[in-house]
Symmetry: C2
Subunit: 504 residues, 2 copies
């Protein structure tokens, strides 16, 4: 078999496997929108079967042979050709998926299912004792997983690589440390600032139907295509890029706060634009038809949510529109007051409710604890104490109970150790990319002021989306911005914004 024939066969198999996998995206979407409650157990069986079939098909030794055939050929000569990128990433996926012994995968599934149930109970009762034995089991299994993958340096590298392929602790630890120090300082300035925004403006009555209409109009202005996508309501918002011509976003509405659904919708629409901006018509089913990493994905959602959605130029155009819908609650509100209200900073316990400035401190705290849990420097039993002392140090407030502290997130109970840093990587990438977009389009603010968002969408599509997995995240950043990932653009952006709002 020629290398080209091997490659064609490999692509054919991958397309079919991805097509099969895409059916479970529909099932997942249905599960979180319209599925009758009584169907839950059956749905779990359907999902497991699809996972098993996809895993079996992809880990077929024939797939490994086809990859090897391609690796030894001219197809990989040009490292950033679609063929070379596909072969590189398929090798990475294949090795990952074949390295974990089946009994370890089964054990992780079993334990995390139980751990999750105990976490739910522990959080409800704010009783860490209930969760502790399960956290111990999960951490032990995550160590085993890291060992099975293999790693250089510390075990955390093996896990981080699952969510942010190619990233290492060394890459991120320096940039995170600088970010943390600057953020703590920034928060101090905000705390002592002479001016305070009036957050009550966005905490009035906001009719849910009108919120939906407004959210859809903003998503449409961003270029989210409702002929190939949908916006629905769910409990925990998400975006799913199901396949060619099918990208769905989900949000939730709070009738007494404008921010949740509004920025949630822009966030998910940002993910959606990435999914639909990938050239799936050509590359569906191969890595070139997939997003780069969780961090890059998050950079797209956060840019639309924050750099665009929480900017003053954007609201110069959209505030009058919002005022025509929310006549009473936004009557007479000035642009500056509204801008202040949507950018209000208040240190608080819960990550998912955090503002743009404190959000990353929540992540950095978790990242530090995760690393220490993996190396053994931190015992699971000591998590609450360590969490609370760091929280006091970074946020300046005392954690009142573990439900508001180390028990708040689902991730550890679900075996998602190594996932958290991708949130902050996303914020960092978004600031780096946005700086470059601004350089390339110096009139971006003026465009926003006219409600024109499509040039930014095109810039993101051409510079990031269409590449699929041609470049890994770090390389993509260098390719787009000319520089490696840096914490400064994010800090500079925040400092500029908050110094204006808070007057320091």
């Amino acid at each position: 078999m020629s290398a080209q024939a091997s490659y064609d066969e490999l692509v054919k198999r991958c397309k079919e496997i991805t097509l099969l996998s895409s059916t479970s995206s529909i099932l997942y979407w249905d599960q979180h929108t319209f599925m009758p409650a009584g169907a839950a157990a059956f749905r779990a069986d359907q999902m497991s079967l699809l996972s098993k079939l996809v895993h079996t098909q992809f880990t077929d030794p024939k797939v490994g042979e086809l990859i090897s055939d391609c690796e030894q050929s001219d197809l990989v000569n040009d490292a950033v050709s679609p063929e070379a990128a596909n072969i590189r990433e398929l090798r990475w996926q294949y090795d990952k998926q074949t390295k974990l012994p089946a009994d370890l995968v089964e054990e992780i599934t079993k334990i995390t299912t139980l751990a999750n149930q105990h976490w739910v109970d522990a959080r409800a009762k704010s009783d860490f004792k209930i969760f502790l034995p399960w956290l111990e089991k999960v951490i032990a299994l995550e160590k085993k997983k890291a060992d099975a993958y293999g790693y250089e340096g510390e075990p955390y590298n093996a896990l981080l690589d699952d969510y942010e392929p190619g990233a290492t602790v060394d890459d991120v630890v320096e940039v995170f440390k600088n970010l943390r120090n600057e953020l703590v300082e920034l928060l101090q300035k905000i705390k002592n600032a002479p001016k305070k925004p009036d957050v009550s403006i966005v905490e009035r009555e906001y009719d849910v139907k009108l919120q939906k209409i407004f959210g859809e109009s903003v998503a449409a202005a961003m270029g989210f295509d409702f002929n190939t996508g949908r916006l629905d309501t769910t409990t925990h918002p998400f975006c799913t890029g199901i396949g060619i011509g099918d990208t769905r976003i989900l949000t939730r509405y709070n009738p007494n706060r404008l921010n949740d659904a509004l920025f949630g919708t822009m966030h998910e629409a940002g993910h959606g634009l990435y999914e639909s901006g990938i050239d799936k018509a050509t590359h569906f089913g191969t890595p070139m038809g997939e997003s780069v990493s969780l961090g890059i994905h998050e950079s797209q959602s956060r840019m639309w949510e924050n750099q665009v959605g929480r900017s003053k130029p954007f609201w110069k155009y959209f505030l009058p529109q919002a005022q025509r819908l929310f006549r009473k609650s936004l009557a007479g509100v000035s642009l500056d007051d509204f801008y202040g209200a949507i950018n209000n900073v208040t240190p608080s316990y819960i990550r998912v409710e955090a503002d743009e400035a404190t959000y990353n401190l929540h992540i950095l705290l978790r990242f530090e604890l995760e690393r220490a849990l993996l190396t053994g420097d931190l015992k699971p039993a000591d998590v609450p104490g360590e969490w609370n002392s760091r929280f006091k140090k970074y946020f300046g407030i005392e954690v009142d109970k573990d439900a508001n502290g180390c028990l708040q997130d689902v991730h550890w109970s679900a075996g998602l150790v190594g996932y958290f840093p991708t949130y902050t990587l996303g914020n960092l990438y978004s600031a780096c990319f946005f700086d470059k977009a601004r350089q390339d389009m110096p009139d971006l603010d003026q465009q926003f002021e006219r409600g024109e968002l499509l040039n930014l969408r095109e810039w993101l599509r051409n510079n990031i989306h269409v590449h699929g997995q041609r470049y890994r995240a770090g390389d993509l950043c260098k390719k787009v911005t000319g520089k490696p990932l840096d914490y400064k653009p994010l800090i500079d952006y925040m400092t500029a914004k908050y110094s204006e709002i808070y007057g320091f």
Copy 2:
């Protein structure tokens, strides 16, 4: 391998195959409810892949071997044991699916896709010439299919068996002929009757939101469980029993006619009660966990739609409820007038809009033409002439154009020859079953008058639903009613109803 081990392995495989197949039910439901239009081509790819996987897994020669092992064992000694029924039906399915050569299946898929496109065009232009060459191709392929299956008597037997397993032309032709003669006579009486219902009562303004609320309340009263099911809106109403705890029905609303959604919802909820009444918790994935046939399925939907939904006792309870919702359109309407309006009989061209009395004549006409097309006694080119002359004979009206005649139905263009008779079989079975239910529960009318529908649901569940495919349709009818299928109960039921309404 012991026979029991073979059986267990067979059941295990069937459960997994059915589970996989159930995922395409979700995709199908999504396609007809919420899927973005731009996803159509990708959805077709997903559906094809799932069909291919299901077909490949089920036609694996190992499945045939396992069935053979079981057939030669004591497992089949008691013909109506779950094991024997499963083995019998799996043999039937396996033989059917393995008898068709792959190239014939592919040819049928290709030709019917094109035939359907040309049928859409032909119907729009009411030009039979456009469809004729495709009808000729489809009939030729259906003959090939019948030959591949093999048959006794005429080729139609092989095709009918796809939709109504075990039924033969000889079984149904006698009962259909008697039915046709009696129906023509009944219609003549109705035509000459002194009284006429005022149909305008149900052709007023009926708010769609209120129709939905009313339809849901009726479905709930029937025992349709909204914790394990849903009601949605679509273009062509259907019901899909997706799996354990997941049965979905769909309807459509006409703001100027009450009947469409109301009886449509009861019809689909009838299908839904059958799907959810099967003991899937025990038998999911095997024939014992499946419905018997299209005819028996239709008997359930039609019984709820007609014998219940178009009965006077039912409306004695539900009309006052409807009047509280549709205050203006139903104000002052008497029970008798409403009962007349929902049972109005008017011969008309279109089958799917036909009333209860004329509906079966539409079917019988199609059945007669299909048989003749298969034997070659009727040439496709002669279909319009033959259709129109029979239509005149049965309905007493002239067909004005082929779009209102032989071009109206999708079935032939889709290769669904042999499907039509199951509609009338359903009506016949519904009347036989309902007669028996009434014997077993002599106060059924009084129950309906109190809005109590659950005893009938239980009766249907215990006598029909829980058996899955333990009995084939004809045997089930004998088991339940003590008699073979007969046309008299349906004619007697109609005669009683219409003689009261029309005063003959």
